[in-house]
């Protein structure tokens, strides 16, 4: 099962290493990580996407993360109303004759062309991972030269549809 875990951490040297090391040690596979500053100085935010076997492992991951002294807060936001975004840059081999076709193709995805050369285009797309995935699949037949993806960054929406069950490390 795919889980989206967000956390705030002290922005100190080695913190990312501490956290990825913890995943390695316990054999948890990370699909993506994004890290960046928050509105508070000295505090960074991380978003992890992990694929785990079951609920129990997800819970154990959160508890282990919570044990880290530099981790301030951990949330599994998978089941909440969230805003999740990923950015991807896709370089596609395209001859001038096919450009129009590509423009039409990416239009519904609200993707944009950010670079053009005589035999290729760079397309920028943002959105949920599935959308990014779908666009890449559509572009594949044209010949993808390079893909750069940021991985998901996410947080919960301001208003939750249901009373959000806030998952923290304590199962009580």
């Amino acid at each position: 099962m795919r889980r989206i875990i967000t956390m705030t951490v002290n922005n100190r040297p080695g913190v990312l290493n501490r956290i990825t090391g913890l995943f390695t040690k316990r054999h948890y596979n990370i699909e993506s990580i994004t890290v960046g500053h928050t509105e508070i100085e000295g505090i960074s935010r991380m978003t992890f996407v992990v694929n785990v076997e079951d609920e129990r492992i997800a819970e154990q991951i959160i508890k282990q993360l919570n044990k880290q002294i530099d981790v301030l807060k951990v949330n599994d936001i998978t089941d909440q109303a969230i805003v999740a975004r990923e950015l991807a840059l896709v370089k596609v081999s395209v001859t001038p004759a096919l450009r129009q076709e590509i423009y039409a193709l990416i239009e519904p995805f609200r993707a944009s062309i950010v670079d053009v050369s005589k035999d290729s285009l760079v397309i920028q797309v943002t959105g949920e991972s599935e959308k990014v995935e779908a666009l890449i699949e559509l572009l594949r037949p044209y010949g993808i030269k390079e893909v750069a993806r940021t991985g998901t960054t996410a947080f919960t929406r301001g208003s939750q549809k249901t009373a959000a069950t806030h998952k923290t490390a304590f199962i009580i």
């Binding site: 040297p13 129990r56 301030l72 490390a169 304590f170 199962i171």
Partner: protein, 577 residues
């Protein structure tokens, strides 16, 4: 403010070198002893120690220093403090750090590091100690600026000793120890990301009280968490109040009196029949401060299959990690037990259960065959138990002798048992004994070691001799890596691949080389004689016991088996296989 206080304050605000700050911080933390080994990167520090009055023990290897600190922590309950130099000094403590991490022992470890200007250049004796030790410490630091040093030391002591205890490492570049800064050690620790829960949740306690009142076959599995929380009295009170039998993990021994009628013995791979069957048959399992290690549970598929599981632990991550838990209680063991005693729910009706357990205890006690001639290692432990009135501090290495010590020395009191449980570190016993003896100068300390493990850290005999610590080193000499030999006998068709060492050194001569009296015994009668002689000597003694070489540790739960599938259980004098 009195004049002294003003002076003290002034001193605390004084400009001083990093090295002096460290010494002052150690004094402020009331550190009684530090274990260490010098080197280039920590020379400024050692220079400060020179006239500081701080008691420093120079072990003969850094591994010795950190195991000694572990022994000290285990017995005193206070943090063990270690200093090692950069590079090889630091990498030599890796085993001890892992050991302390696995067994939740509070340590504060200082490692020297090359100067900040050359960090990352592969300078002489540089090692990425923070990177290496990240997964084997509760937390670690590298000091990058002298102004951070007091705060980091303060935090390190706090983190090591609170919540679930563990080792904290501070890596200090050499130039930081010589740099000057302001020393203010009065500050509060402020760690928003570290707020251990120590008080139990009332609703969960209620749920446990109800579960107990409804159960017919409850059992308490008590681990070292009980000892860390100093909760032995509460454990006894609670077990008696509710009439619940108790089993111990290897590390928990002494948390509950071994001679108590409600005690069933140690559980797990070499646990007693009754303890293991109690875990198999119980309908309510109350785990207090144990982490459901696989050596305790056996195959999880068959572990406590009929039980509702309650788990009291200060570390929330332990709850539900290995065994699904119905009643989780995140708390210090003492606080939780006090609350349970206070609520005093309707006790379970355990009379039929206790009758059954007692019958098992009678029918299937721990068992070995004496031949009256060769020294039986089990008998040897019993003799030590007798001669020390069961009051000695026992430290061990890892292997068969460790299991026999756990089985046959009856621990009635807490903080008498020092062993490497989680990591199973050979070479632990002797240095740990040094720390234990320094923690309790008047205690009788017996270090029971294997002929294999002893040879990993025997250089620490030097320390024992130098400090005249009256430690009795008991070598259970089976001329083999006994536990390995046992597994090869049982699971590899007696192919004794590199586990037999028929020509061990002359350990008595070795002791003499260190100016420690040494005696050897080859028969049971000799054994008693040399033991008596050793205990009459008020100083260190080494004893080399040539025991029956092919003795195995039983009962045993083979790897992959359930606790109910033990072999080597005595039923009315016969060994059932």
């Amino acid at each position: 403010m009195t004049r002294m206080k003003v002076e003290e304050k002034a001193k605390q605000k004084m400009e001083m070198s990093g090295a002096l700050m460290l010494v002052e911080a150690l004094k402020a933390e009331k550190v009684e002893v530090i274990f260490g080994y010098p080197g280039g990167a920590v020379l400024p520090l050692y220079d400060q120690l020179y006239r500081s009055g701080v008691f420093h023990v120079l072990t003969r290897h850094e591994q010795g220093a950190i195991h000694a600190a572990e022994g000290y922590a285990r017995i005193s309950g206070k943090p063990g403090v270690v200093i090692a130099t950069s590079g090889p000094g630091a990498t030599n403590i890796v085993t001890g750090l892992t050991d302390a991490m696995m067994d939740s022992l509070p340590l504060v470890v200082f490692t020297g590091q090359v100067a900040t200007s050359v960090i990352g250049s592969d300078a002489f004796q540089e090692a990425d100690v923070v990177g290496i030790t990240m997964p084997i410490t509760k937390h670690n630091y590298q000091v990058r600026d002298i102004s951070e040093l007091p705060k980091i030391i303060k935090e390190a002591f706090h983190i090591a000793t609170t919540g679930r205890p563990g080792p904290v490492l501070i890596d200090i570049p050499k130039d930081i120890t010589t740099a000057k800064g302001e020393f203010d050690y009065e500050q509060e620790v402020h760690l928003p990301g570290y707020q251990p829960t120590t008080q139990p949740n009332h609703l969960q306690i209620r749920r446990l009280v109800e579960a107990v009142s409804q159960s017919k076959r409850p059992v308490i599995l008590a681990g070292a968490g009980v000892l860390h929380a100093n909760a032995s009295n509460e454990l006894r009170q609670y077990a008696e109040q509710q009439n619940i039998p108790v089993v111990h993990t290897l590390l928990g021994l002494g948390g509950f009196p071994a001679d108590h009628p409600l005690f069933l013995g140690m559980a797990g791979m070499h646990g007693t029949y009754t303890a293991n069957m109690a875990l198999y048959e119980c309908d309510l399992l109350i785990n207090i401060g144990a982490r459901f290690d696989d050596r305790v549970t056996g195959n999880l598929k068959y572990f406590a299959p009929k039980a509702t599981v309650a788990h009291i632990d200060i570390d929330p991550a332990e709850i539900g990690k290995n065994v699904p838990t119905k009643i989780p209680i995140v708390s210090d063991a003492k606080a939780a037990l006090q609350e349970l005693i206070h609520q005093q729910g309707k006790p379970a009706d355990t009379s039929a259960w206790l009758r059954q357990l007692n019958e098992w205890k009678q029918r299937f006690p721990l068992y070995y065959e004496e031949d009256g001639q060769t020294i039986k290692p089990q008998k040897l432990v019993e003799m030590i138990y007798e001669l020390t009135n069961g009051e000695a501090i026992i430290t061990t290495d890892v292997g068969q002798h460790q299991m026999w010590a756990a089985q046959y020395y009856k621990f009635n009191k807490p903080h008498r048992w020092v062993t490497s449980g989680g990591l199973g570190t050979m070479g632990f016993g002797l240095p740990a004994a040094i720390g234990a003896q320094l923690a309790e100068r008047n205690a009788t300390v017996v270090s029971i070691v294997g002929d294999g493990g002893f040879q990993m850290t025997f250089q620490e005999l030097s320390v024992i001799q130098e400090l005249q610590l009256p430690i009795k080193v008991v070598i259970v000499n089976n001329q083999a890596l006994g536990m390995v030999r046992q597994w090869q006998e049982l699971f590899y068709e007696k192919r004794y691949s590199h586990s037999l060492i028929p020509n061990q050194p002359d350990f008595v001569k070795l002791a003499e080389a260190y100016n420690v009296p040494g005696f050897r015994a080859k028969t049971e009668a000799e054994a008693m004689e040399v033991l008596k002689k050793a205990f009459a000597i008020d100083g260190p003694v080494l004893l080399d016991f040539h025991v029956k070489a092919d003795e195995n540790v039983y009962p045993m739960v083979a790897p992959g088996k359930g606790l109910h599938e033990m072999v080597g259980v005595k039923a009315c004098g016969e060994l059932s296989q």
